[in-house]
């Protein structure tokens, strides 16, 4: 009963929030504002942490060490004198800390931990007390259960306690073994130390690593550790040093596997984010090329980089892409394929609404046109937004070749799309409903060939199309050479046997083969997949209502396509709605007549009106 009363009184009692003044300890203004806007750093998950345990264990450790220190006082004081003589400042730091401890008294938690440490660590900040930091890191990473997290304790210049945290296998061991630990342990490196700030001294004089930064918030430190960066914590400092030491195993740059070209660069993206970004930088040597890195996935937090040209990409588009990425509430985002699905405008439409490529030259051309390219860690495919239907028919070869050849192959692809989607359906309609269109000799020939076939045309077509799909899928799944063999076996032997067995007519083999070739002409895999599915829709419409059915199908499909948008850009732009078009988008013209900067997107230098500008 008293408990219930107490609970009720607690419920109705106002408790002012005891919020820590984070701004005192926050980093520079730009980083803070970025964090607040982006909400992209890991939240302070204070409720997951057992504070009592951390403080108790830290306190125990502190007490244990104090006992050891008092047990060997004489030895220690001698060493301290030596240390002071040799390094100067560390001894001062230790004495100051001891004074602070005495001033703070016993405190609520124990002898070694003062109120400031508790307040800082509870607010996700690095505490000056190293024992608290160790316990926090251990609990955060579930050490020792988590065995690939390495916490390496040591003394800086034999005097100041410190520890390194890194993930085994994600960092370059040489960096730690040759350029961090030896230099920090060597007392000679601290001879000239006379500054107030030891971290600053270490950055400037001790560690010879190209990229080192000071961070206070664990919400930023922990993701960095998980990315392969090494964190250095030093006793008495309320900041950690993040030392660039990333070095995972990675694949070397190879030729693209799915976007081969005859003429053009033969480099493809890899799974490594930094390599991919460098490949883009190598092509676009512009100071306006911006790379923003955002983590994705609630739990796996992979990095993806937004790459765009600051003076070309529409700021509204960039903002929208960032907004969508930040709003992804999905635990596990594995690669760009999953990210694409989480970013697209219309998940129920068949056509892809982003374009993916594994060619750096192509990605660079997207960036130059004002699109935003998203490079995702762990995927050799980068995605670009927004996209239109005409983009999906392009290949980087189009611009590498002379304009006449480029235009010719582009038209060939368009023909391929029409053939792949419509030919089986038209064939169905022709044979079922409009056989008068077929010239008499051809009709007789077809009838003769179909004489032995027991199935209606629709069954025959579906049988072959399904068999073709099986062969194609099987060919992809089995290893290289066997896959090719399977394709040949499927195409030749199965087709031949089916005709000989009287299951299908020879002309249908031709229809299916033409359809398949038409599909292979499509340069974008997602578009090719969509067309493969659409083909069955048209077969159905042709089978039930002939050309009229196909007209109905076309109307529904194209009207739906007209309604599609990719990041605010209509899918069939610049044709409908008409916008100021890129001269390269539909037909190729001689290069000197198609300036790269003039594109159909609403880039900052243009006003096609596709996006609603702020204030409009």
């Amino acid at each position: 009963m008293p408990n219930i009363l107490k609970a009720v009184i607690d419920l109705f009692t106002y408790k002012p929030p005891q919020k820590f003044k984070a701004e005192e300890y926050s980093q520079d203004q730009s980083q803070s504002s970025e964090n607040a806007e982006g909400n992209d750093s890991q939240e302070n998950t204070s409720e997951e942490i057992d504070w009592q345990k951390i403080l108790r264990q830290a306190d125990d450790q502190q007490t244990r060490e104090n006992n050891q220190v008092s047990g060997s006082a004489a030895n220690t004081s001698k060493q301290a004198k030596d240390g002071a003589a040799s390094t100067g400042r560390p001894a001062v730091v230790i004495r100051r800390r001891n004074r602070q401890k005495k001033g703070a008294g016993q405190g609520s938690q124990g002898a070694g931990i003062d109120e400031r440490d508790i307040a800082l660590i509870k607010n996700g900040m690095v505490a000056p007390n190293i024992a608290v930091n160790i316990e926090y890191v251990k609990q955060k990473f579930s050490v020792p259960k988590n065995q690939d997290i390495v916490i390496r304790e040591f003394n800086v210049a034999k005097r100041i306690k410190a520890f390194l945290v890194f993930v085994d296998g994600m960092m370059d061991k040489t960096v730690i073994n040759q350029f961090v630990l030896p230099q920090l342990m060597d007392t000679a490196n601290f001879k000239d130390f006379s500054q107030e700030d030891i971290l600053d001294y270490i950055i400037r004089n001790v560690i010879s690593i190209y990229q080192v930064s000071r961070i206070k918030e664990y919400s930023k430190i922990i993701p960095q550790i998980l990315n392969g960066v090494t964190a250095l914590f030093i006793d008495g400092c309320n900041e950690a040093l993040l030392i660039e030491s990333r070095g995972f195993e990675k694949r070397s740059i190879e030729a693209p596997r799915t976007e081969n070209v005859i003429r053009g660069p033969q480099e493809g993206f890899t799974e490594n984010l930094r390599t991919n970004l460098s490949l883009l930088r190598k092509i676009i040597k512009s100071e306006k090329l911006i790379t923003e890195i955002l983590p994705v996935g609630n739990k796996n937090r992979i990095n993806c980089a937004l790459v765009y040209l600051d003076d070309t990409a529409d700021p509204e588009l960039v903002k929208e892409v960032k907004r969508r990425i930040r709003n992804i509430k999905y635990d596990f985002v594995e690669s760009s394929g999953m990210l694409e699905q989480l970013l697209e405008d219309n998940p129920f439409m068949l056509f892809p609404q982003v374009i993916s490529t594994e060619r750096p030259d192509r990605a660079a051309s997207f960036i130059m046109e004002g699109q935003v390219v998203i490079v995702c860690e762990g995927s050799p495919f980068v995605i670009a937004v927004p996209v239109t239907f005409f983009h999906l028919l392009h290949s980087s070869e189009d611009t590498m070749l002379r304009w006449q050849y480029g235009m010719f192959i582009r038209l060939t692809r368009f023909l391929g799309v029409l053939i792949a989607s419509l030919v089986p359906g038209l064939w169905m309609a022709l044979v079922q409903f409009h056989s008068e269109m077929i010239p008499t000799p051809l009709l007789l020939s077809i009838l003769k060939m179909r004489e032995a076939v027991p199935f209606p045309v629709v069954v025959e077509v579906l049988l072959m199309e399904v068999a073709f799909e099986l062969i194609r899928e099987g060919g992809i799944r089995v290893p290289g050479l066997i896959g090719q063999t399977l394709g040949i076996i499927g195409a030749l032997i199965l087709g031949q046997a089916a005709v000989a067995a009287g299951l299908v007519s020879p002309i249908l083999i031709i229809i299916v083969a033409i359809t398949g070739i038409g599909n292979f002409v499509i340069p974008n895999y997602s578009l090719a997949m969509a067309i493969r599915i659409i083909r069955f829709f048209f077969i159905f419409m042709g089978a039930v209502l002939g050309f009229y059915g196909i007209s109905v199908g076309l109307t529904i499909l194209l009207a739906l396509t007209c309604s599609m948008k990719s990041f605010g850009v209509p899918f069939l732009a610049p044709f409908t709605p008409k916008t100021r078009r890129s001269s390269d988008l539909i037909v190729r013209k001689p290069l000197y007549k198609q300036p790269v900067t003039g594109n159909y997107l609403d880039t900052v230098s243009r006003r096609s009106g596709l996006y609603h500008k702020r204030g409009e």
Binding site: E436, M437, G546, Y548, S551, T555, A559, P577
Partner: protein, 362 residues
């Protein structure tokens, strides 16, 4: 207020021209030959001139009340109740027109292609398309019209070019047909073949400015008149007028005449795509216009709840004519001959009333 979306002039022109032309591909050329003989090719120009006058009235009315559509203007001029009657009348005529055009189309393709298919089956598939397109919205119907418009225009021109080998210029005589007076009267009465141009008044808000309404209206009228003129002239040159009177769908008959060598023949099915797709745009457009007027009349903010029940009415209306003869000689005839009252006269009354009462938009 239903959000219709904005689209450009080309999209609007495409959708209006297709709406005008779709119904002219079937029995109308036959009726024109019956009414005016060999003078059909310039009768359509007389009708266009009358329609231009009618559209000018509509344009002045819209200009007097900028930023408003025709239903809002009727309300502003006549008040809520009489305005309601005017708008309702327009909706009824459009719905009836959609139903009759639908039935006419189905009857024709039943005669030529789907001999054994029940009409409900064909009507049903078209109504399903209308429903889907209505969900997608006017903006996308217009965009699709532009996309399909170029292809259909190319197909139409190819059809006439291929059929040009059958042109015989002596068939144009007698030039005055059944007499000039008769041609003038029929031209005036049949001005409603361009009545769909005035649909721009219903979706005026989807265009950017009032000048766009003018451009879209007159350009659509000119293109539709030119196409009808070419079509009617081509038919006059291909079929002698006594023979032309006997053809149910003269344009389809023209397509079936085309043959070049033993291989390229009987290609009329290929040209089916032109009338199929034009009908698949025109009827959903009329249907959508009815929905817009209805939603205005009963102050419905969202079209979706009424998209499902309205097809039932459309289907029911389309099944009223018992056969094609009744459909053509009664329903379509009166729709064409008196449709202009709703398309041009009602706006004229509204304009006169607004002028007399000195009512103007903001």
């Amino acid at each position: 207020m239903v959000e219709q979306g904005k689209f450009g002039n080309k999209e609007a022109i495409a959708v209006l021209v297709i709406a005008c032309m779709a119904k002219e591909f079937f029995t109308d050329p036959n009726i024109i030959v019956r009414k005016v003989g060999t003078a059909g090719w310039y009768m359509v120009l007389i009708s266009a001139a009358v329609a231009a006058g009618g559209f000018t009235v509509v344009y002045f009315l819209l200009k007097r009340f900028p930023g408003k559509n025709i239903m809002e203007i009727y309300d502003a001029v006549f008040g809520r109740y009489i305005g309601f009657v005017f708008s309702f009348l327009l909706a009824v005529v459009l719905l009836f027109s959609a139903a009759m055009n639908l039935r006419e189309y189905v009857e024709i393709i039943k005669i030529y292609v789907f001999l054994k298919t029940p009409p409900v089956y064909l009507i049903g598939s078209l109504i399903v398309t209308a429903v889907i397109l209505s969900f997608i919205g006017l903006e996308n119907i217009a965009r699709y019209s532009k996309l399909a418009g170029y292809v259909m225009l190319a197909g139409f021109i190819i059809l006439l070019l291929l059929a040009s080998s059958f042109f015989r210029f002596y068939r144009i005589y007698p030039l005055l047909g059944y007499g000039l007076k008769n041609t003038l009267v029929q031209g005036f009465l049949r001005s409603s073949i361009y009545g769909e141009i005035t649909l721009v008044a219903i979706f005026a808000k989807s265009l950017h400015r009032i000048e766009d309404v003018r451009k879209v209206g007159y350009t659509s009228l000119i293109i539709a008149a030119a196409l009808l003129f070419i079509m009617q002239l081509g038919l006059t040159l291909i079929f002698t007028y006594p023979f032309g009177k006997e053809l149910t769908a003269p344009l389809y008959a023209v397509a079936s005449l085309i043959h070049y060598g033993a291989f390229f023949q009987r290609v009329e099915s290929l040209f089916l795509f032109i009338w199929n797709i034009s009908t698949l745009i025109a009827i959903p457009l009329l249907f959508y216009m009815v929905l817009l007027i209805y939603s205005h009349l009963f102050k419905i903010d969202d079209l979706r709840p009424i998209i499902i029940p309205f097809p039932v009415i459309l289907l029911t209306l389309s099944l009223i004519p018992s056969n094609i003869v009744e459909l053509v000689q009664f329903y379509i005839r009166y729709l064409r001959e008196f449709g202009w009252v709703v398309f041009y006269v009602l706006p004229a009354i509204a304009l006169a009333m607004a002028a007399l009462s000195k009512k103007k938009g903001a």
